[in-house]
Symmetry: C2
Subunit: 179 residues, 2 copies
Amino acid sequence: MRAGRLRLPQITATIGLPSQQSPIMTLTFEDFPPGRFGTFGPRRVTREEILAFAAEFDPQPMHLDEEAASRSMLKGLSGSGWHLCSIMMRMMFDGCIGRTASLGSPGVNEVRWLAPLRPGDDLTLDVEVTEARVSRSRPGTGIVTFKAVARNAAGQALCEWVSPIIVARRAGASSGQAG
Amino acid sequence: MRAGRLRLPQITATIGLPSQQSPIMTLTFEDFPPGRFGTFGPRRVTREEILAFAAEFDPQPMHLDEEAASRSMLKGLSGSGWHLCSIMMRMMFDGCIGRTASLGSPGVNEVRWLAPLRPGDDLTLDVEVTEARVSRSRPGTGIVTFKAVARNAAGQALCEWVSPIIVARRAGASSGQAG
């Protein structure tokens, strides 16, 4: 697993300070209408990554031991479901969140692990906005609910999650002015 | 972040082959009646771990950049929610799953991120079985639904999730014999 800091070339949002955010390249609530958003990736997942994540966070034999994995219900080495979720988060970051005025997320409505993540899989992430609404408690923000589906190169869905993310509205939106 | 393989001293279950599993120290479906199961930990989370995970999977400024984090909604550096979930998985492994005849999980019903994970937090994990039922499709197995709540040293709940795990029944249980 790579460690240390990565450079963050795409970040332009000033998190938590929507009034000061850069107007250039920063996506706000208004940029996420309900509907298909896009497909991110591909992102290859290596055997070494699968083993390193499993050793750290989920050392069940099906994620760490080739022979035990071959006898498991999943019939071969597979990545931890939490690893797959974490990779999906990174694909979301690279695809949009890294340049979005995101303030964080209260959680995940549902995670479904549908098929095993295999070493060498090339993942793509289909992203849809299922709901977008202005926050009642913080009128300068909105709640954008994303559905993300990770697929392997054959198009098979491996995992899907639905998660709300708090996103700042465009400057002036909270006071009723046009964007 | 540590990499490389960890030894797996506690694993005695032969995953996916309940009929061959070791009778010694392996927890089966019968060992998870509904109710409180236990509290695992403590497990300290370091700043270095938080930064390493964020750099790899969730490089939002609030997880990676001290100054940006201080200006964020969470008012200080906080670990990625996916990092916290992954640490909770490891605490589940160390606490029970590592010696359970687990066959995997279809997903997570709900993840709620309730308060920020901070550098230096000592986490404990409260684990409860909310439901335990024999599988209709695979009578040799049962579905054990766990609710896990991660707390900091002050007892504040940082994250909770509810997730079903497929667990083998004791040998003979599927053919209707007593345990």
